[in-house]
Symmetry: C2
Subunit: 208 residues, 2 copies
């Protein structure tokens, strides 16, 4: 299935629906309506209805969607899109945590390898992840056609790594380094500042 | 300074401004205007102007704000609010990555301790973090008046840990387990689903 870019916003919400549905007890909820989903996720009911009908047709009147079928449909839509292997640069604690994080597979995603400046010879970790010397980054990305790069190096090194990734054909960057990165317009940059997330949680709490 | 809850949205954006400003080269930008900040962060100029004037007064006409002074002001506003120590439950790879993550201190935040079911005797890690047995969770939270709990346990255990945290006085939960948690209305819940973030990045890329 080739999704049209018009559906970009919808596509972005599909993993959210999928996560919610997978958390449901299907004995209790053999069927689920757009109303229930919208309420649980604090989304507009019209939006949920529209999103789901775009991938799965309309739900049945009064009953809504068959929960298991809807999960299967969403998994297919999300999983069948071509999986471009992602790689990590920086195999410190955070890089290793991501390498060992369960759940990427649910979204048709795979982190294939990590690169670290302190690595001199390639090795495989206890949980099967491959770690390579940093100077093999460019060759690996080009030969494996890697399109997604995850940056978990210290902020001082982040821009250099970002430039090297882009130079090797990566078009989407997931940046965990707490700094602003400069990327060309055609590159997608998603920042994940964990300190900022915690600060935001704290501020919400202080205001409550 | 006691911030009024009317400023909640503003407060939520202050760490974003601070992060951006700290990434600037102050030799190049001794002054910075709301226009520049708004453009860099894709925010409305009026909003940025309003946010900053709420904490720092108006910028100087033509010049804007003195960059270093504005950084200092934002750090004071964010840092001087009472720091409620945060704790982590689940000292696996992700928990340890968060314990060792630099940058929380910039926001007046501190992760004081971690609790793990596999820990039988308290110990201190190489980087100074304290790990305690899980059965000490309740006593620690109550005696240290912990208000923020970070959940990095497997999803099967997450709801139980969430309930125990809330029962121990925690009012804000930062959940890394990929599952839906049920919390009372007076509890703040922030979900951090890393697989979802990566899936979202991938979807953006596929649509570009």
């Amino acid at each position: 299935m080739k999704h049209n870019c018009v559906m970009k916003a919808t596509l972005g919400r599909l993993p959210v629906y999928l996560q919610y549905l997978k958390g449901l007890d299907t004995n209790e909820y053999p069927n689920v309506s757009a109303t229930i989903i919208a309420k649980a996720l604090s989304l507009g009911e019209v939006q949920v209805r529209k999103d789901l009908s775009a991938v799965s047709g309309a739900g049945r009147p009064k009953l809504g969607y068959d929960t298991l079928s809807l999960i299967k449909t969403l998994e297919e839509v999300l999983g069948q899109k071509a999986v471009s292997e992602a790689i990590i640069v920086g195999a410190g604690r955070l890089g290793n945590a991501l390498l060992g994080y369960n759940g990427f597979g649910n979204y048709g995603l795979k982190i294939g390898a990590a690169f670290d400046i302190s690595c001199t010879d390639p090795y495989t970790t206890a949980n099967g992840a491959r770690i390579f010397p940093l100077n093999e980054l460019e060759n690996y990305c080009k030969s494996e056609n890697v399109k997604i790069g995850i940056i978990t190096v210290p902020k001082e090194a982040a821009q250099d790594i970002c430039d090297r990734l882009i130079g090797s054909g990566v078009t989407a960057i997931w940046n965990f380094a707490p700094c602003n990165l400069c990327v060309p317009d055609n590159i997608i940059l998603q920042n994940e500042n964990l300190a900022l997330s915690l600060a935001h949680l704290k501020l919400q709490m202080d205001c409550k």
